[in-house]
């Protein structure tokens, strides 16, 4: 038995897999003790949890602690002369015309930033020895100041971590109650501002996470849920609790990560090597490219957005995110242009049609007016939508443009579909992938409603809507693997790379990775992938090149692979140009057992009985289209668009010409018309 638990801002979701059966439940999030919400949701299932082998846990608690500035009182220890690096940042700003621009507020003020007499050079040689005596004095001062967590980041510690390690020792002795973390434990790459920020972020959420995870384990046991606990990371894998307490920053984006894992696993089971995962919820939509069932990650990641965010170098699932979802508000800007999002009506008051006091037109209101979602069966019929309120809100928004509510509704949906398509193109076309070779996996409450329009716009031939599309991210937890990423800056001319030395450097990284995997209890079924980041001498951006099976030909093979990749990505190669290695990276995966999915039963009987008017093109007027209950569709059933396929928490909108077939595990496999 596997249990997945996901604590979001509004709702806590749980998913339980027993054999080939997966069930879901939901309860309100309980901010004071998040574990209560989990217990509530599990109780709703009324299942005996004794047989639980593994509990997977994802949470927004960590990112929220940072965004709401509710982390620990944190200090920073740096190399002498460099405590201000953290405040200075990269001396940049985003909006070129905004002369009153703000800068991100650092999490540690200058008074809590301490300097230690020590200095390492870029090649790892010691320039100034570590001054233990002064370090002890600083550690005592930190202990006496009421500090809860301390981050240590010394210059060039990625090349030689000894001084940082010694500082941690001193802190352990002199300030044992203060949580501590050092940059070399998190990331071994150059760029001091980004590395310092990563270390500070980790320290900032450390004490809170330790408490949170302690409470979680205790509460899980109290509801009879035993077994080991694994935490969802931002990198598309999970890790054990002990490591989570040391690297809580890795838990930052567990939600998008779970969605990507779910899509990658589905792609593997369906043998689709090239897919885009498209997750559209209430406030945002996310698109992720998944090739060969592998999840791509990216760094740096800016917590709180690129403009004003704090950088973290820990890998986060590489996705394009846009601030538009079902709850996004449509409005006329001061110049009279029709815009949608990024502001959202949220869960409260929600779209106008919820009847909870919202008066602004949202995407959901537009979908309702066009008949693409149903007033009576929304949320499994638990919530009745009010068409009149939707019409009034949409009509009011569009009045100055001289549009009828239906015209405006179609316009809102077209604008949103275009925005979604631009997000999907960011991860496909802009990465050199032809959308005609890609399958779109659509999930999230609003994903299936809009997926066919998005796919059509980009010329994608096929869309897959998995079973329980609105809960698909939770399914991702149940099928995740343990994953650890490690990296090491390794600057060298490629034509002078010593393969033995390269091997040693990789072996050190692998040692770290194997240690991390064994802590989680995984010893068999592991897989380690090596890549070298290379560039033409003089370029800044690198490309990651696989470093497997070099067998004594490291220089030639890496060079060839790099040239090929450069040509594939940028369209040209420069055979005579010298190359340079910059970073070594490894990804270590510990495979976990996965639930199987039950074959579908059900019949077409009772399906397609209802007919509802739906508008696809406003000028064509409404078309009367059949409405199918998804659970009534058995494997092999075929539905030709236009049609709607409704399930409790979502609706799949088939446009004219789309052809949907249900596969053996209940996926809607739709050929785009």
């Amino acid at each position: 038995m596997l249990v997945g638990t996901d604590v979001g801002g509004t709702f806590t979701d749980v998913a339980v897999a027993v054999g080939d059966e997966i069930v879901f439940a939901k309860a309100p999030t309980t901010p004071r003790n998040m574990a209560d919400g989990i217990a509530d949701a599990l109780e709703r299932l009324g299942m005996d949890l004794d047989a639980t082998e593994t509990v997977f846990h994802g949470t927004t608690a960590i990112i929220n602690a940072i965004l709401e500035r509710k982390g620990a009182k944190t200090a920073l220890v740096t190399t002498e002369g460099f405590r201000d690096v953290y405040e200075l940042g990269r001396g940049s700003r985003w909006d070129p015309y905004d002369m009153l621009f703000p800068k991100p507020e650092p999490l540690v003020k200058r008074m809590q930033r301490y300097e230690i007499r020590e200095r390492t050079r870029a090649d790892g040689q010691v320039q100034v020895p570590f001054d233990r005596h002064q370090a002890q004095a600083v550690a005592r001062e930190i202990a006496a100041s009421g500090t809860e967590a301390v981050a240590v980041c010394f210059l060039h510690a990625y090349a030689a971590p000894e001084h940082e390690a010694r500082m941690l020792d001193v802190l352990a002795k002199e300030a044992p109650d203060v949580a501590r973390t050092a940059s070399h434990e998190l990331v071994r790459e150059y760029r001091e501002y980004e590395r310092t920020s990563t270390t500070v972020l980790n320290a900032y959420v450390m004490p809170g996470t330790v408490g949170y995870l302690g409470a979680l384990e205790q509460r899980l046991r109290s509801v009879g849920c035993g077994g080991r606990v694994l935490l969802m990371q931002s990198n598309g894998g999970c890790m054990d609790v002990e490591r989570g307490k040391r690297v809580p920053l890795a838990l930052l984006e567990s939600g998008p990560s779970s969605g990507a894992i779910a899509a990658a696993e589905l792609a593997r089971r369906m043998d689709l090597p090239r897919v885009v995962a498209f997750d559209m919820g209430g406030t945002t939509a996310k698109a992720t490219l998944i090739e060969d069932f592998a999840i791509r990650t990216e760094r740096p990641y800016y917590v709180g957005g690129e403009r004003l965010g704090l950088p973290s170098l820990l890998p986060v699932v590489d996705l394009a995110e846009i601030g538009a979802g079902g709850g996004s508000v449509a409005f006329l800007d001061p110049a009279g242009a029709l815009k949608v999002g990024p502001r959202s009506a949220g869960a409260v008051p929600g779209p106008a049609c919820y009847g909870a006091g919202g008066s602004e037109a949202t995407v959901t209101d537009a979908d309702l007016l066009l008949g693409r979602i149903d007033a009576a069966s929304f949320f499994g019929g638990e919530m009745r939508l009010n068409v009149d309120l939707a019409e009034r809100a949409v009509g009011r928004t569009a009045e100055p443009l001289g549009l009828s509510p239906l015209q405006a509704a179609e316009g809102i949906v077209r604008i949103v579909d275009n925005a979604m398509a631009l997000a999907v193109r960011q991860v496909s076309i802009e990465r050199g992938r032809d959308p005609r070779d890609l399958t779109l996996i659509a999930f999230g409450g609003a994903g299936p409603v809009h997926a066919l329009a998005v796919a059509r716009q980009l010329g994608m031939p096929r869309v897959i809507v998995p079973p329980m599309a609105a809960n698909f991210s939770a399914f991702g937890m149940l099928v995740s693997d343990i994953r650890h990423d490690f990296s090491q800056t390794y600057v060298a001319p490629l034509d002078a790379v010593d393969e033995d030395e390269l091997e040693r450097a990789f072996s050190l990284l692998e040692e770290l990775a194997r240690g991390a995997l064994s802590e989680a209890g995984v010893l068999s079924e592991t897989q380690i992938e090596r890549v070298v980041e290379i560039r033409y001498l003089g370029q800044e951006h690198t490309l990651a090149v696989p470093a497997e099976s070099l067998n004594g030909h490291a220089r030639e093979l890496l060079a060839r692979r790099y040239h090929d990749k450069h040509e594939a990505v940028y369209g040209f190669r420069v055979p005579y140009e010298p190359m340079q290695t910059v970073n070594l990276r490894i990804t270590a995966t510990g495979h976990l057992p996965k639930p199987t999915l039950k074959a579908r039963s059900g019949s077409l009987a009772g399906a397609g009985e209802r007919v509802r008017p739906v508008i696809f093109e406003e000028s064509d007027g409404p078309r009367h289209v059949p409405v199918h209950r998804r659970e009534a569709l058995s494997a092999g059933a075929t539905v030709i668009g236009p049609a709607l396929i409704e399930e409790a928490t979502s609706t799949t909108t088939l446009h004219p010409g789309d052809r949907c077939e249900v596969d053996t595990i209940g996926n809607l496999v739709i050929e785009v018309g």
């Binding site: 201000d84 700003r93 015309y97 621009f101 150059y190 405006a408 925005a419 370029q539 040209f572």
Partner: protein, 578 residues
């Protein structure tokens, strides 16, 4: 009518977002494949789709404003030379001619024609700062040149590719005029690759919407921008507003200051920016031929949040007579063409500060250069190296907040180079990098702080210093005090010190030399005696403001141990201050 309006509103929104996404994709292609740090790290480039009249239809997000306003105009020069029927698919044109573009030769524009249905419909264009374009020095500091020909290869609308094939004769001519031909020609390739992306995408757009629809949609967006800009000007009371400042020197004579004068006339929804009162063109290379600084300043006050387009600038008229500093004629040198812009822009804000008090910050330190420019031969690799550190500066106090410490350049998005990267690639060791106490001008809202950075040369190398605002301090507003001016000090291997000034270029520094760069702070906003004593104490405890300055500038006295406010003494000081 209704249906038409409906189509327009939605289609317009879709097309304008799509054009931005396409030019962003061009920018990404350029940045990823470029060689020059000025492109890939500093982001000194732009990407655009330009129509046959030279108007920008789409422009990449975050593109440098200095490139925006006239990228299209230079394509008109190529159309004039080759004729509208003189292009074929696969062509690429290179353009950097100083007296046509009004900029330094390093800013190289590469553009390609876009054909749809065998018809020339638009151009895909990029402009990027090449690290080297030949000429007298690798970069183009002030004091280096006195005419544009010294500043590098001048290429006026010359095809480098024809029908998809490189024109080898031309490329060979370029190659042997450059110091780092592989780097610069790598940038050229990257720019062409970016243009090819733009060509493909624009055609995709035309397959979905007709050219007329695309034009109609962009016209609509321009009209919307114009309406917003006019409304913003309308908010400013009618009248004539003026301000003056000066540049420290003309880039040739260290003691000759260069007056800047801005006259702004507001009349209903229209604004005229008259720069007739500024200095005539000068001997040094700080001349240009452009309206860029006036346009940046105008947009910053009227439509700062909106993506730049033709409409944003319609309500403004810029007046600069021929022969002035920013409307220079041959043989003016333009190597440091943008050098005066921050001061011109700042002076414009100062002119309008009284009537736009909530929207204007105090003076800014200007260009984040200082003397952090080193080049020479690397002792271990034997290769030439060029290290350019843009050192961040303090920005002026804002209407309700302190000024930003460590902001970038006023002209847009740039990033400084990390210490760890500098030390990995160049024979330099950085001794320290810290905020510069007391550099922010005192004010109710304090100016942002400059920084202090000490470079230690571990090998013999050359240094170029570009130093501004050492005499014209970043001013305060509404009773705020000026920020500290910048300062660059050499410490010779024997320990003796020397302040270096403008004009110090190509200077050979022996191994063991140390250079301290102190960048200036921003001016203060509002009377410093109105700053809450608690905030002054906070600044003293953090080390941003010295105890002495707290007393002298802010009239805040501290207790003997410095840990708290001496309230009695403070109220006496503030009473005496009136």
């Amino acid at each position: 009518m209704a249906v038409q309006a409906y189509l327009d509103a939605v289609t317009t929104e879709v097309i304008s977002h799509t054009l931005t996404a396409y030019t962003d994709e061009m920018a990404l292609a350029l940045e990823r494949a470029a060689y020059s740090p000025m492109i890939r790290d500093v982001r000194d480039y732009c990407a655009a789709i330009v129509d046959l009249e030279g108007r920008t239809l789409g422009y990449n997000t975050g593109g440098l404003p200095t490139h925006y306003s006239d990228i299209g105009e230079h394509i008109l020069d190529g159309i004039e030379i080759y004729g509208e029927d003189g292009f074929e698919p696969g062509d690429a044109v290179m353009m950097n001619h100083a007296y046509t573009c009004g900029q330094h030769a390093n800013n190289v524009e590469i553009y390609t024609p876009i054909f749809f249905d065998r018809q020339l419909v638009a151009f895909a264009a990029t402009r990027a700062h090449w690290q080297d374009i030949g000429g007298i020095t690798a970069n183009r500091p002030t004091y280096a040149t006195s005419d544009a020909i010294q500043e590098g290869l001048q290429v006026r609308s010359v095809k480098v590719f024809r029908a998809g094939k490189p024109i080898d004769d031309v490329l060979r001519l370029i190659r042997y005029n450059l110091r780092q031909p592989d780097v610069s020609l790598g940038d050229l390739r990257a720019q062409i690759a970016a243009c090819r992306v733009g060509e493909r995408r624009f055609c995709e757009l035309l397959e979905k919407y007709s050219l007329d629809t695309v034009h109609a949609a962009t016209e609509t967006v321009w009209d919307q921008s114009e309406a917003l800009a006019r409304a913003a000007v309308e908010e400013i009371p009618d009248g004539v507003y003026e301000a003056e400042s000066f540049l420290d020197d003309d880039g040739y004579h260290p003691d000759r200051i260069v007056p800047i004068h801005v006259r702004v006339e507001v009349s209903g929804p229209k604004m005229t920016i008259d720069l007739s009162g500024m200095a005539d063109q000068v001997t040094g290379p700080i001349n240009s031929r452009t309206h860029v600084p006036a346009l940046i300043a105008f947009k910053a006050l009227t439509t700062p949040d909106r993506a730049p387009d033709v409409g944003c600038f319609r309500p403004v008229t810029v007046v600069v007579p021929e022969g002035k500093l920013i409307n220079a004629v041959p043989p003016a040198a333009m190597g440091s063409w943008s050098w005066p812009f921050p001061t011109i822009i700042d002076t414009f804000f100062r002119a309008l500060a009284d009537v736009m008090p909530g929207q204007v910050a105090a003076g800014n330190c200007g260009m984040p250069y200082g003397a952090g420019f080193f080049y020479g031969q690397h002792p271990t690799t034997g290769r030439q190296f060029v290290s350019l550190s843009l050192l961040p500066v303090g920005w002026g106090g804002r209407p309700s907040e302190n000024g930003v410490t460590s902001g970038g350049m006023i002209l847009g998005y740039v990033r400084d180079c990390p210490v760890e990267v500098t030390e990995t690639f160049y024979p330099l060791l950085v001794d320290r990098l810290m905020v510069r106490p007391d550099s922010g001008g005192a004010g109710r809202f304090r100016g942002g702080l400059g920084i202090e950075c000490v470079f230690h040369c571990e090998a013999q190398m050359f240094n170029n210093a570009e130093i501004g605002r050492t005499k014209c301090a970043p001013w305060g507003l509404f009773g705020g005090k000026p920020g500290a001016v910048s300062e660059n000090v050499l410490q010779h291997p024997d320990g003796s010190q020397e302040v270096i000034r403008s004009g110090s270029i190509n200077r050979l520094l022996p191994s063991g030399t140390r250079l301290t760069v102190r960048t200036g702070g921003g001016g203060g906003y509002g009377n410093p005696s109105l700053r809450e004593p608690e905030r002054v104490l906070e600044d003293v405890l953090a080390g941003y403001v010295s105890r002495e300055a707290a007393e002298a500038e802010y009239c805040v006295a501290l207790t003997p141990d410095g840990s708290d406010i001496d309230w009695d003494h403070t109220s006496r000081l503030r009473r005496d201050d009136g």
